[in-house]
């Protein structure tokens, strides 16, 4: 076997040589050549030029050669669709081969070739393979349906493949069942409202049977699917739990965690006095502990999930504190998570141990970890009252070490302890004051100032201390400035005679010399209070404060319930609801709505309908709410054009559509107004896009929930994704849309502003910008003037930023402001621009750099859209 050298590669010569070898008559030489081609493909080199020669090697009896050619085809078919057609015949033939391995291989490969023309030919062989006598072929075909759906969802639905796939859930072979479940789950994710995985007791039984016999990966798919089921009563719930429990002893940690999810969820339905409930609780602890002896990456995910589990059911792990003790060589991300869980498990029973550990950690090397450990000591004091004294003395010990960041963290947490237990530990103030000078972090400074102000009457030299801070007032951060203002006012109210001068000084600093509105306002309020009614001022400023709560960082209960339903997923790692994962997948925000299940868990499960997906209305509603939330939360300030008429009633049997496009919080939306100008009610709306330059496609079905009565108008916001098929349009931003209702299908086209495609992370690093700017060839540069804009460079830059055009740098040359800007498009293309602004001259000159001509054209139209819209 010739050793393939992948480091040295001479493109022109080598390809020529390979071409000759591929066309050789000798089988062995051919195979070696294909191997070489694959080798260079693997390391990312472009060998697409050899396409016809490689495809010629496909018709062979040699299985290895065939596989290699298939590998190559999958990689390059997309760039050479016309050539790929040549391969279709062989595929179709292979799908009929007597050897099931070849049948499966052919159907598997065809599904990986993401070329429309090929997918058309795929349907018939796929249909046959789904009903093949050999389970190996059936299970491969099941996955192929998911592939095809990813390429062309409509085709899959029209061909009825989804129904066939559903039938496979009842297949006699467990592997086929598992793959069918996996494929359906994946398809369901992009079809939030479809009732694909319609679970009923019969299917559940099928799944549980298959669970015992399929591979570990299949078990994960099945368990995750089971977790979406809502049992009818506690008896069914218990019987499912009983059949899932053995999975807790599986060697694959993903299986274990998925089983934990099912159990944690179904357990909610069991009455707590049931013996089985207690047994189950006991069974959950050991597997969770075992996960912590696995590799660090697994530990990390496990710990994030355990963090949720201990919040929901602290009793499971309450005796297992020790396994969370941090080891010297744990990676930092594991250390921090363990610490977090230790505090959650801290109780009167184990606090001595925990404190001893935390003190140990506070002397470690890693600064982040040490800080968190010190904070944790404070949290223990607040959580377990009996331990407060010990915690405070531990903190004092740590302050004595004089390690700068330890002291600062300690002071921050001691402030919280003072707030939790007023008038108990003030004796330590003297020690704290000694360290005043070493504090250089705003949070620590603010905490210390708060302490001095709060206990001014006990600190003899409080005025001196505060005065010393006042010297550099303007250099302090806002947090410290605000604290200082309040502290001095408190001091004044407590010792009015000696501190009059000081308070006047700080009030004037805050109100006259500061341009921070918060500081100014607070200053004025104090000033008014003090000058009009000192008694009232005392009542306000020195009012008794509410005690701080025990644990401030608990996850809010409804979110926690939802996250428990998502144990083992990314949502559980980030402790955010799945709806927060907007990017990445179409329609994830609608996913299976476990929030509703969470809500149903505690209350009356019997009232919940058995079918989960049966509430499309709710799905849409929540989706809209979410979108709105995104829009309000992150106002990008992007310009939204007023709606224009896209489809006129006379051309569309009474349906009139006007609309516009907007980008809100990173989501592209198409805002539509549908008006019914006909005499009869319209229903069954649906929308589809033709292929377009940037692959815009609806992220979900259009939600028109009520029928549209005559003369009624309805506004719909349709989130769009960028994952549709791509075809260059003329002009580039042209979009052809088909809207269907119960009457007919109507077509229209509209143009979207290109600024829609500018993504939020389009700010290029300065260095990269400089380097890229230089590399852009002159041909790709365009220059033009923008007239009659009366904005200065900063305002212009801000406005542009609202549309995700980011200013990287600015410089002023001979009275001209030069702005250097970058834009990134959803498909990853960067556009760089230089904008020259003559101060006082309303005409801008803009130079743009592009990588190719298509972008140039595109950028032209962008600029027109952007600036005319101002």
């Amino acid at each position: 076997l010739k050793v393939i050298n992948c480091c040295v590669w001479d493109p022109s010569g080598e390809i020529f040589e390979l071409k000759a070898e591929l066309n050789s008559d000798k089988k062995e030489k051919k195979k070696e050549a294909v191997k070489k081609v694959i080798a260079s493909m693997t390391v990312g080199k472009d060998v697409s030029a050899l396409f016809p020669d490689v495809v010629n090697c496909m018709q062979t009896d040699n299985l290895e050669l065939k596989k290699l050619v298939y590998l190559y085809l999958m990689n390059y078919a997309k760039s050479q669709p016309d050539m790929a057609i040549m391969a279709v015949n062989t595929f179709v033939k292979d799908c009929e081969d007597p050897n099931p391995l070849i049948r499966a291989l052919a159907v598997r490969t065809m599904g990986c070739i993401r070329v429309d023309k090929i997918t058309e030919y795929l349907c018939e062989p796929l249909r046959k393979c789904l009903k093949d006598e050999d389970p190996y072929v059936r299970k491969t075909a099941a996955v192929c349906v998911a592939k095809l759906h990813d390429i062309n969802a409509q085709l899959v639905e029209d061909q009825g493949f989804l129904d066939t796939l559903k039938d496979l859930i009842s297949d006699s072979n467990p592997m086929v069942v598992a793959n069918a479940v996996a494929a359906l789950s994946e398809i369901a994710e992009s079809h939030p409202n479809s009732n694909l995985l319609d679970l009923n007791p019969q299917t559940i039984n099928k799944l549980l049977t298959a669970l015992n016999e399929c591979t570990e990966w299949g078990q994960i798919f099945i368990l995750d699917c089971l977790a979406n089921y809502m049992p009818r009563d506690d008896r069914e719930s218990q019987s499912i739990c009983e059949r899932v429990t053995p999975r807790l002893s599986h060697a694959n940690s993903a299986v274990v965690l998925s089983a934990v999810k099912v159990l944690m969820k179904f357990m909610e339905m069991l009455p707590k006095d049931l013996d089985y409930y207690g047994t189950l609780l006991k069974k959950l602890a050991p597997p969770l502990v075992t996960l912590l002896s696995a590799e660090p990456e697994l530990q990390y995910v496990a710990l994030r999930n355990i963090n949720l589990i201990v919040q929901k059911r602290p009793e499971i792990l309450k005796h297992e504190m020790k396994v969370f003790f941090v080891k010297y060589n744990d990676p930092i991300y594991v250390k921090l998570e363990k610490l977090d869980i230790m505090i959650r498990l801290a109780s009167q029973a184990n606090i001595a141990q925990v404190l001893a550990e935390l003190k140990e950690y506070a002397t470690e090397v890693d600064v982040d970890f040490v800080r968190k450990a010190v904070r944790a000591i404070g949290r223990c004091a607040i959580k377990v009252e009996q331990s407060a004294e010990r915690c405070v003395s531990t903190l004092l010990d740590l302050i004595q070490t004089k390690v700068n960041y330890v002291v600062q963290e300690a002071i921050v947490v001691i402030k919280d302890i003072f707030r939790k237990y007023p008038n108990k530990y003030e004796s330590v103030i003297a020690t704290l004051c000694e360290n005043l000078d070493s504090l250089d972090e705003p949070e620590a400074r603010a905490a210390m100032i708060w302490i001095v102000g709060e206990y001014a009457e006990r600190i003899d030299n409080a005025d001196e201390l505060l005065e010393s801070f006042l010297e550099g007032f303007h250099d302090e951060s806002t947090q410290v400035q605000l604290q200082l203002l309040t502290a001095i006012v408190k001091l004044f109210l407590k010792k009015p005679t000696e501190t009059q001068e000081l308070v006047q000084q700080v009030l004037s600093l805050a109100t006259q010399d500061s341009d921070n509105p918060d500081l100014r306002d607070r200053g004025y309020i104090y000033w008014r209070l003090l000058s009009t009614d000192p008694v009232a001022a005392k009542e306000v400023v020195l009012a008794e404060k509410p005690l701080i709560s025990e644990e401030t960082d608990l996850i809010e209960p409804t979110l926690l319930e939802e996250l428990i339903c998502h144990i083992g997923t990314l949502a559980s790692v980030y402790h955010k609801p799945p709806s927060a994962f907007v990017e990445g997948s179409r329609g994830v925000q609608h996913k299976r709505l476990p929030a509703r299940m969470g809500a149903g868990l505690g209350a009356a499960p019997a009232a919940m309908p058995a079918s989960l997906g049966g509430a499309p209305a709710v799905g849409g509603g929540l989706g809209d709410l979410f979108d709105l939330g995104g829009g309000v939360g992150m106002p990008t300030g992007s310009y939204v054009a007023p709606k224009t008429a896209w489809l006129l009633a006379m051309k569309a049997k009474g349906l009139e559509i006007s609309g516009t496009f907007a980008r809100r919080g990173g989501i592209i939306q198409m805002d539509l107004s549908l008006t019914n100008k006909a005499m009869s009610v319209m229903t069954d709306f649906a929308i589809q896009f033709n292929r377009n330059s940037f692959g815009l496609a609806p992220a979900g079905p259009m939600q028109v929930l009520t029928p549209l009565s005559p003369n009624q108008t309805i506004d719909v916001s349709l989130p769009l994704s960028m994952s549709g098929p791509v075809m260059k349009m003329e002009p580039l931003n042209n979009l052809q849309v088909a809207v269907k209702n119960n009457i007919d299908v109507f077509y229209f086209s509209c143009q979207y502003p290109l600024s829609l495609l500018f993504v939020e992370d389009g700010k290029m690093d300065r260095q990269v910008f400089l380097a890229t700017w230089k590399d852009i060839p002159n041909d790709n540069e365009a220059q033009f003037q923008i007239k009659d804009i009366h904005l200065n460079s900063d305002v212009a830059s801000n406005k542009l930023q609202g549309s995700n055009i980011f200013t990287i740098a600015k410089r002023t040359v001979e009275g001209q402001d030069m702005l250097y800007q970058s834009v990134k498009l959803t498909n990853g293309i960067w556009v760089l621009a230089e904008m020259r602004i003559q101060t006082g001259n309303p005409n801008y000159t803009k130079t743009n750099g592009f990588r190719d001509c298509m972008q140039k054209q595109m950028y032209d139209s962008t600029s027109v859209v952007r600036f005319s819209s101002k």
Binding site: A254, L257, Y574, G584
Partner: protein
């Protein structure tokens, strides 16, 4: 599901990519490089990295980052487990999992990856099945292949892939039928300054090497199965029988595999085989310090402690160590700041001691952190938990196999604080 895989070496070179769906530009790895830079140490790179459009889930093995790209909600543990499987398969095929071996066998690697996932769904991950589909490279075979023109890809449907026992291939034949089991226990422990156990637990595994013909059905039983309350089994083990009878009944895979792993938790009393008396101190002035470590046997159940190694992670300011050891050799690496004392066999009559002075960077303040000691050791013929195999029975085949059980105890993450 799993969308793409990138392999990146320690220097940050991306040397292999594989896409199971549409191609994702390798620029997505920029987010990984950013995280990698931030983490400083390669071990500290967070396993899950969020980017605007994708998630990067990575593991770090043998100086290689396996970075997978996912686009939809996928259980991260599923991805991590799969990546481990990939690394293990490379190890299995090429003897080691390194950049060089991967590059040398790039076509096989590509074939394997193609076989392991289909559209992001795991396809064949069992080493038995893979080896039937794609034969591992051997010098002999590659020679034979070049001469006879035969290939290294299987021509038949792998038999295991569809049967109810996918882990075993059919028609296994041996002249010497043998079944060996290794009970390996690792003690994870933290001892504090005074030698008190802060935390100790045992991670045990039973590794098997089974070379038996046909379809043997084995039953392994223990003298004291009660010790095991937290176990994970290889998929071949019949869980029902374990639950009801506390015996391990299984049809074994062919060759080497891990039969089960178990965990004896901190709540049980764990025997600690050695004690460490240590004193490491730094003086306020003079830029120096002292070190004095003695190791002695504690609960060894009458066995000898071997391969004893003490590792000390010194603070950064320690420049050199001038020590003398009564037994074994020591070495201080001023770059990594690791002091390694290789003791060897522990002699209870004459306890090994290491002592002397440490010199610090002049002018540097006294180090704040306490160094931590890591202990490595090995005890043959002993499972420290007391676990004992009672007997191994074979059904379903007529021949009489050779059987054997070995015990060994090692230190896992065994740490002594100072």
């Amino acid at each position: 599901m799993i969308h793409s895989l990138f392999l990146i070496n320690n220097a940050g070179d991306l040397f292999l990519e594989k896409h199971w769906k549409s191609v994702i530009s390798r620029s997505v790895c920029d987010y990984f490089f950013e995280a990698r830079e931030k983490a400083v140490e390669p071990d500290n790179v967070p396993p899950v990295i969020r980017t605007p459009h994708h998630y990067l889930i990575n593991i770090y093995r043998e100086k290689i980052f396996f970075v997978s790209v996912i686009q939809t909600e996928v259980p991260p543990l599923f991805v991590i487990e799969f990546l481990h499987r990939v690394a293990e398969t490379f190890q299995d095929y090429f003897g080691e999992c390194s950049e060089t071996t991967i590059k040398d066998n790039v076509v096989i690697v590509y074939e394997l990856l193609e076989e392991m996932l289909d559209n992001g769904f795991p396809l064949a991950t069992e080493s038995n099945i893979l080896k039937e589909l794609i034969r591992p490279p051997t010098i002999l075979r590659s020679m034979v292949n070049t001469i006879t023109g035969s290939s290294n890809v299987g021509e038949t449907l792998p038999t295991g892939q569809l049967s109810n026992i996918p882990w075993r291939r059919a028609g296994v034949k041996y002249t010497n039928n043998e079944a060996y089991f290794d009970v390996v226990e690792e003690i994870d422990a933290i001892l504090d300054k005074s030698g008190t156990t802060v935390f100790a637990e045992i991670q045990g595994v039973i590794d098997a090497c089974v070379k038996l013909s046909g379809m043997p059905d084995l039953t392994l039983s223990f003298m004291n199965p009660r010790l095991l309350d937290d176990v994970s089994f290889h998929p071949c083990v019949r869980y029902k029988r374990w639950e009801s009878e506390r015996v391990i009944s299984f049809i074994p895979p062919d060759g080497n595999f891990q039969l089960m792993s178990y965990h004896i938790s901190a709540q049980n009393l764990v025997a600690i085989p050695i004690y460490v008396k240590q004193n490491i101190s730094f003086f306020e002035t003079g830029s120096s310090g002292r070190l004095d470590i003695t190791v002695g046997p504690k609960q060894t159940m009458g066995k000898t402690v071997e391969c004893l190694v003490v590792t000390v992670h010194m603070p950064k300011v320690v420049l050199s160590a001038n020590l003398s050891a009564t037994q074994g050799t020591y070495n201080y690496d001023p770059v990594t700041k690791i002091l390694l004392w290789d003791i060897g066999k522990l002699n209870p009559q004459k306890l090994p001691n290491l002592k002397g002075s440490l010199s610090l960077q002049s002018g540097a303040p006294k180090p704040e952190e306490n160094p931590s000691l890591n202990i490595d050791l090995k005890i043959q013929q002993l499972a420290i938990s007391g676990l004992k195999v009672n007997r191994l029975d074979m059904y379903g085949e007529k021949y009489k196999p050779f059987k054997g059980v070995k015990y060994v105890t090692k230190a896992g993450k065994f740490q002594v604080r100072t």
